[in-house]
C-alpha cells in the first residue's frame, strides 16, 4: 500500500550560506579538530601483548567442558548443543555410561566430544542450550594454533580448559544448576543430597524457558 501523501514529510537539504558554500570555514574547523587531537595527545590504544584486556564475565572465548562434583565430564550427551549450533561445529558421539562404580548414576556420556574452534562463530548458542551447564565459554580469547587439527578440540582438551580456567577467578562455573536429574537420584540419592535447594528437573522435561541464561 502506498504511503498516504499527507504522511510523507519531505526533508530538504539545508540551504548553504556564503561561508558554507566556500567550504573554507568548515575545512578550518576540521583542521582545528584534528590539530587539537595532535596537541592534546591522549591515545586510547591498549598495548596488547603487554597490557591484557579486562574482559567482561560473559565474554565468549574458548569453550570448556565442565566437570561434575566427581570430576567426570558433566555432559550427558544430549546433543542439544550440537543441534543448536548454527555453525554445526560440535561433533558428539554418545555412548552408554560405563558399567563401573564410578558411573553408576549416569546413563549416557559423550565418548567423543569435539568442537572445531575454527568453524565456531562464538555465538554462545551451545552454552545457552545445554540443560546441565556442561558446556561453557571462557574468557580465554587468545586462541591460536599451528594447524587445523590442533584447533579441533577434543573432550580431554575441553576438560583441560576447564581445569585451567575454573580457579582463575575469571571464569567461575556460571550456575550451580544442572546437577543430574531424578533418574540418577533414584540410584544414588546421596549424590544430589548436597543440593536440596536446587529445583530438580525431571529428566524428560526440557528446561523451563529462559533458565538457560545466566
Amino acid at each position: 500500500m502506498p504511503i498516504d501523501s499527507k504522511d510523507v514529510t519531505w526533508v530538504e537539504e539545508p540551504e548553504m550560506g556564503f561561508w558554507e558554500s566556500s567550504f573554507l570555514p568548515a575545512i578550518v574547523d576540521g583542521l582545528k579538530t584534528t590539530l587539537k587531537h595532535v596537541i592534546k595527545y591522549e591515545p586510547t590504544t591498549q598495548q596488547y601483548p603487554e597490557e591484557k584486556p579486562e574482559l567482561p564475565q560473559n565474554y565468549r572465548g574458548v569453550h570448556r567442558l565442565n566437570r561434575d562434583e566427581k570430576g567426570r565430564v558433566k555432559c550427558v550427551a544430549c546433543f542439544l548443543c550440537a543441534t543448536a549450533c548454527p555453525a554445526r561445529c560440535i561433533y558428539i558421539t554418545a555412548a552408554p555410561a560405563p558399567k563401573t562404580e564410578e558411573w553408576v548414576d549416569r546413563d549416557k556420556y559423550p565418548a567423543k566430544f569435539d568442537i572445531d574452534e575454527l568453524r565456531c562463530i562464538g555465538c554462545g548458542m551451545c552454552e545457552e542450550a545445554c540443560p546441565v551447564d556442561a558446556i561453557e565459554m571462557t574468557s580465554l580469547y587468545d586462541l591460536t594454533g599451528m594447524s587445523r587439527a590442533e584447533m579441533l578440540f577434543d573432550r580431554e582438551k575441553l576438560l583441560s580448559v576447564y581445569d585451567k580456567t575454573i580457579n582463575s577467578g575469571k571464569d567461575p562455573a556460571r550456575t550451580t544448576r544442572g546437577r543430574l536429574g531424578p533418574a540418577s537420584t533414584m540410584v544414588t540419592p546421596e549424590v544430589i543430597a548436597g543440593s536440596s535447594d536446587e529445583k530438580r528437573v525431571p529428566v524428560q522435561a526440557v528446561p523451563e524457558p529462559g533458565s538457560g541464561g545466566h
Partner: protein
C-alpha cells in the same frame, strides 16, 4: 669537477633524498594519522617505530611478486614504472636550494630550464598513464573504474592547475623556476602569495587532486573500489605506486613553496644578498622547512576532510576552479597591462573569491520551495526504498 659528474652526483643525491624522504614521510603520516585518531601508530620496530619504514621496505622487497594470470603482463609491469619514472623526472627541474651556476653544487639537476613549470606539468600529467595503464592492464572492473576516474579527474584538474600558474608567469615574466624564486626574493612582500592568494588556493587544490590524494583519491578509494587501479598489485610494484604518490606530494609541495612562498627566500637571513659562509645551506634548510610545512598541511587535510563524491569533484573543477582561475589570469593581465599597483591583485583576488561565494549561494535566485520539491505522488513504494 666535470659538470657531468656533478650532475650525476646531484641525481644520486636527489634520488636517495626523495626516496628516503618518501619512506619517512610515510612514517610521519602514519604517526600523524595515529595522533589525530588517538592511536599510537607504528611503535614496534626500533625506538618509536623509527625503523618501521625500513621494515616495510624490506617486506615489499621480499614479498612474492604475484602477477595474476588474467592481466596484460607487459602493461601490468610497465605502469608502476611509468608512475615512478614520471614523478621522479618532474623533480629534475625543481631547484631544492639557491641554484646558481658558480657554486660548487648546483642545487638543481637540470639548471636553467626556461620551460620549467611547463615541463613539470607535462611530465607529471604523464603519471596518469601509469594509473590508467595499471587499471586497464589489471583486467578487473574495479581497477578499470578507478583508472577511468583517475583519467577524468587528472585531465580536469590539469586546467585549473595550469591556469593558476599563468598568473605567476605573467607577474614574473618567466617560467623558469629558479627565476621565479629570484623574482620573489625581494622581501617578504615579494612573495607571490600576496598577489595571487586565490591562484595559490586553486593551485593547491588542483595539485592535491592531481596527486590523487584524499580528499581527491577517487581513483583508489578503499571503500568502493577496493584500492582502485592498484587492486591487483602487490609487493614491489605496489610499493612503486605508493612511492610515486609520495614523490608527487613532495613535488607539489616544492612547487607550492617555490611558486607562491618565495622558495628559499626568507627575510633577514636567507635573502638574495646573503652570502655568508653556509648561506647556501641555510637557504636549503629554509626551503626544506617550508616544504615540510606544506607536506604536513597536506597530511592534515588528508585526515580531516572526507572524500568528495565524483560529481562534486568534477563540479569543483569545472564550475568553480576553472572559471576562477581564468578570471584570475584576466585580472593579472589587466594589472600588468595598465601597470597598476600590484596590491590591486590581492584586492581583486578577494573580490573574485567573494563573488564566487555569493554566486554559489543561489545562482538563479530560485526560491527554496520550488527548487527541489518532488511531487508526493511520486513515491509509490512504502518502506525505506526511497531513502536514497
Amino acid at each position: 669537477m666535470h659538470p657531468l659528474l656533478i650532475t650525476l652526483l646531484t641525481i644520486g643525491g636527489v634520488l636517495g633524498g626523495t626516496l628516503g624522504a618518501c619512506s619517512y614521510l610515510i612514517y610521519i603520516e602514519r604517526k600523524l594519522a595515529a595522533f589525530i585518531q588517538d592511536r599510537v601508530g607504528p611503535n614496534r620496530v626500533g625506538p618509536f617505530g623509527l625503523l618501521q619504514p625500513i621494515a616495510d621496505g624490506l617486506k615489499f622487497l621480499l614479498k612474492e611478486d604475484v602477477i595474476p594470470a588474467h592481466v596484460d603482463k607487459f602493461l601490468f609491469i610497465l605502469s608502476p614504472a611509468i608512475s615512478v619514472f614520471t614523478t621522479l623526472l618532474a623533480f629534475s627541474v625543481v631547484p631544492f636550494g639557491a641554484a646558481s651556476k658558480d657554486g660548487i653544487f648546483p642545487w638543481i639537476i637540470a639548471p636553467q630550464v626556461d620551460l620549467g613549470i611547463v615541463f613539470i606539468f607535462a611530465v607529471s600529467s604523464l603519471a596518469v598513464y601509469g594509473v590508467i595503464l595499471g587499471g586497464w592492464a589489471s583486467n578487473n572492473k574495479y581497477s578499470a573504474l578507478g583508472s577511468l576516474r583517475a583519467s577524468a579527474q587528472v585531465i580536469s584538474y590539469e586546467i585549473p592547475l595550469g591556469m593558476s600558474v599563468l598568473g605567476i608567469a605573467l607577474l614574473g615574466g618567466t617560467l623558469n623556476l629558479e627565476e621565479v624564486i629570484k623574482v620573489q626574493a625581494t622581501g617578504l612582500a615579494g612573495w607571490n602569495f600576496w598577489y595571487q592568494p586565490l591562484a595559490c588556493l586553486i593551485f593547491f587544490i588542483a595539485a592535491l587532486a592531481e596527486s590523487n590524494r584524499l580528499p581527491f583519491d577517487l581513483s583508489e578509494c578503499e571503500q568502493e573500489l577496493i584500492g582502485g587501479y592498484h587492486t591487483e598489485y602487490g609487493a614491489l610494484k605496489f610499493a612503486l605506486f605508493f612511492l610515486a604518490e609520495y614523490t608527487h606530494v613532495i613535488t607539489i609541495s616544492f612547487l607550492t613553496v617555490i611558486l607562491y612562498f618565495g622558495g628559499w627566500h626568507f627575510p633577514w637571513f636567507a635573502t638574495a644578498a646573503s652570502n655568508y659562509a653556509g648561506a647556501e645551506f641555510v637557504k636549503f634548510g629554509v626551503l626544506l622547512f617550508k616544504v615540510l610545512s606544506v607536506i604536513i598541511l597536506i597530511m592534515f587535510i588528508r585526515w580531516t576532510i572526507p572524500r568528495f563524491r565524483f560529481d562534486q569533484l568534477m563540479g569543483l573543477a569545472w564550475k568553480v576552479l576553472i572559471p576562477l582561475a581564468t578570471a584570475n589570469v584576466v585580472l593579472t593581465m589587466v594589472v600588468r597591462e595598465f601597470d597598476l599597483n600590484r596590491w590591486w591583485l590581492t584586492v581583486g583576488s578577494f573580490v573574485l573569491f567573494l563573488t564566487a561565494g555569493f554566486l554559489a549561494i543561489d545562482p538563479l535566485g530560485r526560491s527554496r520551495a520550488t527548487k527541489r520539491r518532488r511531487p508526493a505522488a511520486a513515491v509509490p513504494v512504502a518502506g525505506g526504498h526511497h531513502a536514497h
